[in-house]
């Protein structure tokens, strides 16, 4: 909750500044802008919860057992091979790390860096299964920067490319709110 509030607080001045630079904002426009930020916050939270995590980080946390001793174990040395396991695929893990890093930049409010990272991601790995996530995050980062046009453009691209994606309805709602 605090993290999301932070994001909104970080994004708010940037968005307002961008809006003010384009045209003087009348009072009612500013009000609707505030509502949009709250909505953006909700969509970002949902998006994050639906994005895969780096399993190397996840495992680090899972072994912590609140200081209770005796949780150590030695697993068998005869672990079977799981074919097509993405968590053992170095290339996928590299993509996951790059994506997680860009996501963290957005969390920290480093939106310009996030845009650069995500643009690089989609260029470097155009057929990655994380590309829809990268595109969605890119559109969100543009929106956070106050660049409505680019945000709408990337969201439209996302909707067109991945019509079956469970976040399509959210993308459409953001587009509507940005218009």
């Amino acid at each position: 909750m605090k993290q999301l509030l932070m994001l909104v607080l970080l994004i708010m001045p940037v968005v307002n500044l961008a809006a003010e630079q384009q045209q003087p904002a009348p009072a009612e426009k500013l009000e609707s802008g505030n509502v949009f930020k709250g909505f953006l916050q909700k969509v970002w939270g949902k998006f994050k919860s639906l994005s895969p995590k780096d399993p190397r980080q996840t495992h680090k946390v899972v072994v912590v057992t609140a200081g209770v001793r005796g949780a150590e174990t030695t697993s068998s040395i005869l672990e079977p091979y799981w074919k097509d396991d993405q968590t053992s695929d170095e290339q996928f893990l590299q993509q996951l790390q790059a994506f997680a890093s860009a996501q963290e930049q957005i969390d920290k409010g480093e939106l310009a860096s996030a845009v650069t990272s995500l643009q690089a991601f989609v260029t470097q790995w155009p057929s990655s299964s994380l590309k829809p996530n990268a595109e969605f995050a890119l559109a969100m980062a543009y929106g956070g920067q106050g660049d409505k046009q680019k945000s709408i453009q990337v969201f439209n691209q996302f909707v067109q490319e991945y019509p079956e994606h469970p976040l399509v309805a959210d993308a459409k709602s953001v587009i509507k709110a940005l218009k």
Binding site: M1, K2, L78, P80, Y81
Partner: protein, 317 residues
């Protein structure tokens, strides 16, 4: 969770303090708060007694806690030690969690002791949000409070306590673990289900869902997912190979070998499948067959010998 279940299994229950209920505490009235050991002895307490008992138990294990004061009631929360940026590893429902000082805290309704940890958590979160939004919640962090009010050291008690029945505790913990495991797995598989929905022709994310279920022992869920993949790609060798792993994990090595052999027919040059055959054969004591498959795998890819050093040692003559 384990502490909550141990205390629940011990028969500790909530009762309203008949003499000085916390709800009636005002400037001219005080409530008696039991020491943890008193609550353990009489196996009951009101909201403040149970919050104190849980906090004391957790602090004793090195887990930071806070007492939550709301109008007419007291409950508690504890720091689960996880960074707030990783909150979704605990729950996808943000309103179940409290973020404080960069960490994820879990609110608990202590009076629900005797029910289940999950229920006490949900109720604690509901109350936290309700009173926090109304600006009527006061969190007292024990470590900060101890700066002002030093913890007391009591004389040794004149009585001893009976350890709760192992079976009763085991049943509760096992049930709660099942619930939390399912929730935890939902968090792990959901992102891959989303990826699969986004690109229905790409079965890789779906395979990840199946592997995750299988690794955590949810074999039926894994099998259902394998069937979906197989319907789309009947010749995908990963399905029989990974299905073989399910048999392997259940010590059904004959069935595992059968499944691996089918996978081998579909992907004759996959050294991993051959390694699986080597391991399953080894488990059955069929060392010659195991060595043969191991050699075949190494012939295809010399690097696998390094990766499967353990097996190599087990197969040495």
């Amino acid at each position: 969770m384990t502490l909550f279940d141990v205390l629940s299994a011990d028969g500790i229950r909530y009762v309203v303090d008949p003499n000085s209920p916390y709800a009636k505490v005002k400037s001219d009235r005080v409530d008696y708060v039991q020491f943890g050991r008193e609550t353990l002895k009489i196996k009951s307490g009101d909201c403040d007694d149970l919050s104190v008992l849980l906090s004391a138990g957790l602090e004793n294990l090195g887990v930071e806690t806070a007492v939550l004061d709301v109008p007419g009631h007291l409950f508690m929360m504890f720091n689960c030690g996880l960074d707030e940026t990783k909150a979704d590893q605990i729950s996808l429902q943000q309103d179940l969690l409290v973020m404080h000082d960069g960490k994820v805290w879990i609110p608990l309704e202590a009076t629900m002791i005797g029910t289940s940890f999950s229920e006490a958590w949900a109720e604690g979160a509901r109350k936290y949000n309700k009173y926090s939004q109304a600006g009527k919640l006061h969190a007292i962090f024990l470590h900060q409070a101890w700066d002002k009010y030093r913890p007391v050291t009591l004389k040794p008690a004149s009585y001893s306590l009976t350890v709760p029945d192992k079976q009763k505790v085991g049943e509760r913990v096992s049930m709660e673990q099942k619930i939390l495991l399912k929730k935890s797995l939902d968090r792990l598989v959901k992102p891959y289900e989303v990826m699969a929905a986004a690109e229905p022709k790409n079965v890789t994310p779906l395979m990840q869902v199946a592997i995750t279920y299988a690794r955590y022992g949810l074999y039926d869920a894994a099998e259902k997912t394998f069937e979906k993949i197989q319907a789309q790609q009947p010749d995908n060798s990963a399905v029989p190979n990974n299905r073989g792993n399910i048999y392997y994990m259940q010590n059904q090595y004959d069935k595992a070998i059968e499944s691996y052999r089918y996978a081998e027919q579909l992907a004759a040059n996959d050294p991993g499948i051959k390694m699986n055959l080597a391991m399953a054969n080894y488990k059955l004591g069929q060392l010659d067959e195991a060595r043969e498959k191991f050699e075949e795998a190494v012939t295809i890819d010399a690097d696998v010998a390094q990766r499967y050093q353990g097996l190599s040692k087990l197969l040495s003559r």
